[in-house]
């Protein structure tokens, strides 16, 4: 996953751009996100992101205090359910509308900064004619 960058490979942008394709894929995507099961353990999709990377760590440091608190609460609750070998009670499952990408925009801006830095580091300068 990580060879494609911190967010992994995704065709989502090209699918959502095409309206017909989006309509065809949406029910399948919803079904898949539900069957993946992370919501039943009280997690959001961005909680599953591989965080053992410098860029994602920097993105995590940009979350607000309450977002960081909520994230660690979800992790604690999920590991407790894992110990109990049981899903959360159904009313505590993360609802699809709550499953927002709270970390994605931060990761993207960090990646953009890293790319810009490497571009400046490797640029060749020519004297003005």
């Amino acid at each position: 996953m990580t060879i494609f960058g911190p967010l992994g490979p995704s065709l989502a942008s090209s699918v959502t751009r095409n309206r017909g394709l989006y309509r065809a894929f949406k029910p399948f995507a919803d079904w898949y996100a539900d069957i993946a099961g992370y919501r039943r353990y009280g997690l959001k999709y961005d909680d599953l992101l591989v965080e053992e990377r410098d860029d994602v760590q920097r993105a995590l440091s940009r979350l607000t205090d309450s977002e960081t608190y909520d994230r660690s609460f979800r992790f604690k609750r999920a590991s407790q359910t894992s110990i109990l070998h049981a899903e959360l009670p159904k009313e505590q499952w993360v609802k699809p509308e709550e499953d927002v990408r709270y970390l994605k925009s931060h990761v993207e801006s960090v990646v953009e900064e890293d790319n810009e830095r490497s571009a400046w580091d490797n640029m060749a300068i020519q004297r003005k004619k």
């Binding site: 440091s61 940009r62 607000t64 931060h106 801006s109 900064e113 810009e116 830095r117 400046w120 300068i125």
Partner: protein, 421 residues
């Protein structure tokens, strides 16, 4: 021959002769043939006008961070390629954003300055990652210097609000991005900015400013309440530095030349190395103690005083008493001494505007106020000073309640009344 040539090339036009309005922004430039140019955006955005403590300091350190046009890294790297230096500085009244660069690169650097003023992003992560740590470092470095600390406390005592607001942001100040954004949008308006250039022609700078700052809003700038002088006494424990006492006197209204003459007369700083100054204070100073006259002029008030420092509290007491006695004795000055003091003050005023920094800090405020700013007009003020006017100034200073700050070993440092105040 050489002398003649130098005098021609050094035909320094150390003056902002004209102030023109470019798109509602005041622009003043002085080109005296330097190889390097500098452009300063002087904004009336000092700590005096802030609505929350620490916001002005945070805004100063936010300078040259990411804008709509380029990121913080892009600004730094591109400026390095051009070989320019970007800096920002904050006083109680003004925020100065300065770019110094080689002649010919003005288009890029004026764009860097104006893109911060018009279209800065003020992101939360930049505040956390870059701005807040620098603010905290600067504030803690300032707190370790007892003289700086004494002056900060003295401003608070002397003026309470406005000019009395702390210059730097403390760790506990509730500065967030929204507050900085709101402050920036209130101070970055057309009437509130003056653009000062050295080593660049007036026309070139005006044209660039007109192009880049025309999008600024013309809203009214925040006006602080006019300053009032209060005075008072405070004592603060301090460790590691010299024992420090600040004895201050305040006056409202624009700074008068009389105060500059008085400061020059009382300053025990010798004009020649390894000698004793001619001030009446110098003779009474114990070895290891120092007295420094402080004259801090603001647009509508002035703080005048002495920073007295010494290794022991007893030295500080002796030196402080000598300073107070000299000030009280300054009501009657001999004609010879008065002439000397005027010459010294005149030289100090002239040499203050010698460098780029001085030009901006001394004359910039005048440009912002819309008046013609030149060295000549600054020096002309000394022509009208008379000995009786100085002694009137001294007696009116002494009539008001003094501002007294002691920083150090407060158990043994003197109280104000022990120095004869």
């Amino acid at each position: 021959m050489l002398a003649a040539r130098t005098s021609v090339t050094r035909r320094a036009v150390r003056t902002f002769a004209t102030v023109v309005d470019a798109a509602g922004v005041k622009v003043a430039a002085a080109d005296s043939g330097e190889a390097a140019s500098s452009v300063t955006f002087l904004v009336k955005a000092g700590s005096r006008y802030q609505n929350k403590p620490g916001v002005a300091h945070a805004l100063q350190n936010f300078a040259f961070k990411s804008t709509g046009k380029r990121s913080a890294l892009g600004t730094v790297r591109e400026s390095e390629i051009y070989g320019g230096v970007l800096s920002s500085s904050l006083t109680r009244e003004h925020l100065a954003l300065t770019a110094e660069f080689l002649k010919g690169d003005e288009q890029y650097f004026v764009d860097v300055l104006s893109s911060f003023v018009t279209d800065a992003k003020f992101t939360r992560h930049e505040l956390q990652e870059y701005v807040a740590p620098v603010c905290a470092d600067e504030a803690s470095a300032a707190a370790t210097n007892p003289a700086t600390r004494a002056l900060e406390l003295a401003h608070g005592l002397a003026f309470r609000n406005g000019l009395g607001a702390p210059l730097l942001s403390a760790e506990h100040d509730p500065v967030d991005v929204e507050a900085i954004k709101a402050y920036a949008s209130s101070v970055f308006t057309k009437g509130n900015i003056a653009v000062l250039g050295t080593g660049i022609s007036q026309e070139a700078l005006s044209a660039l400013v007109e192009k880049s700052l025309s999008a600024l809003p013309a809203a009214a700038a925040p006006t602080g309440a006019s300053s009032k002088y209060f005075g008072g006494e405070t004592r603060v424990e301090g460790h590691g530095g010299p024992e420090t006492v600040f004895i201050g006197f305040g006056a409202t209204g624009a700074s008068a030349a009389e105060l500059a003459v008085l400061a020059a007369q009382l300053s025990p700083k010798p004009s020649v190395k390894w000698s004793q100054g001619l001030s009446p204070i110098a003779a009474a100073l114990p070895v290891g103690a120092s007295v420094e006259t402080v004259l801090l002029p603001y647009s509508d008030a002035t703080l005048f005083g002495f920073i007295v420092q010494g290794a022991t509290a007893a030295d500080v007491k002796t030196a402080g008493a000598a300073a107070v006695k000299a000030l009280q004795g300054a009501t009657s000055v001999g004609a010879e001494d008065f002439k000397k003091a005027v010459a010294k003050a005149r030289f100090a005023a002239a040499s203050a505007v010698d460098g780029k920094q001085g030009l901006v800090s001394v004359l910039g405020a005048k440009v912002l106020a819309g008046s013609a700013a030149s060295v000549e007009s600054a020096l002309a003020a000394f022509d009208g000073v008379s000995a009786s006017a100085v002694s009137n100034t001294v007696s009116s200073l002494l009539k008001a309640k003094p501002t007294y700050v002691a920083v150090g070993d407060i158990k043994s440092l003197p109280y104000a009344d022990e120095l004869g105040l």
